[in-house]
């Protein structure tokens, strides 16, 4: 784990630089290369960052799920550190997903918010992980905090498949869905190129922020360890 941590620390600046270049390329592709969608017009441009952010929030919450399950199984404190980093960065992505979704919804639906199944389950997901972080801040005992949070990290992940399949489970929703088929991305090829580059750019930035957040947690644990070693 120590070797992985030093490797992550040395790779972070290079990843951040790569992420900045990828974001610049993605923005150029979105506004200068991908065609304007015929029905929705300019607001559809929000899609290129809205969807990757939603996908990356799932990744963050999956890291929390795996870290929490591993902590409950093995009791390794490092897994708890990864779980909290995943939850916080996942919550950041979910927050941005909700904000960009509302700004997309206003010109298309005429309202910032509707209680559509996809929107409602995403909001519940946001509440679950906000509660996860609040829970962590309220429990002082480190072992209890990790245990309670791990249970919540495992149980809370059950909402992720609900969010993803909500448009199929509840057919009365108005959230748009991309109909994909074998070899058919469900959109214009130039739009798909812009989408793939945006997804890659955001994935790189997600990795950078996740590594930084995990480093904060490892350092916090080290401070605690050093302080307790000094106590008589």
């Amino acid at each position: 784990m120590e070797r992985l941590r030093s490797l992550a620390a040395s790779a972070t600046p290079a990843l951040a630089a790569l992420g900045a270049v990828a974001v610049a390329a993605a923005v150029w592709l979105v506004f200068s290369f991908a065609p304007v969608e015929k029905v929705m017009g300019a607001p559809q441009k929000i899609f290129y960052f809205h969807v990757p952010l939603a996908m990356l929030s799932y990744v963050g919450f999956f890291i929390t799920f795996v870290g929490s399950a591993a902590y409950l199984w093995k009791g390794a404190r490092e897994m708890d550190h990864l779980a909290v980093a995943g939850a916080e960065v996942g919550l950041l992505c979910a927050t941005l997903t909700l904000i960009t979704g509302m700004l997309w919804g206003r010109p298309i639906w005429g309202a910032y918010w509707t209680w559509d199944p996809r929107l409602t389950t995403t909001f519940i997901l946001w509440l679950i992980y906000a509660a996860y972080l609040i829970l962590r801040s309220q429990v002082e005992d480190e072992t209890l905090r990790a245990k309670y949070a791990a249970v919540m990290g495992v149980v809370g992940f059950a909402d992720v498949p609900l969010v993803h399949f909500s448009v199929k489970l509840w057919s009365r929703g108005i959230h748009p869905v991309i109909e994909r088929g074998p070899g058919d991305p469900g959109m214009h090829p130039d739009m798909f190129t812009a989408f793939k580059v945006s997804l890659a750019a955001m994935a790189i930035l997600f990795t950078v922020v996740f590594l930084l957040r995990a480093r904060v947690e490892f350092l916090r644990a080290e401070v605690e360890r050093l302080k307790s070693a000094r106590r008589p």
Binding site: A42, L53, L96, I99, L103, L212, V216
Partner: protein
């Protein structure tokens, strides 16, 4: 187009605000670790 500009602006404002907070926490913790190690 105003909504598109607002969405892209908010993404980066919130993202960089979070990175800024993380950087401050990191630097404070690194300082704390070296201070505690120095006292050992």
């Amino acid at each position: 187009m105003d909504f598109v500009v607002a969405a892209y602006a908010l993404i980066w404002v919130i993202f960089f605000a979070y990175v800024f907070v993380l950087a401050r926490r990191l630097s404070a913790l690194e300082g704390e670790v070296s201070r505690l190690k120095g006292k050992q």
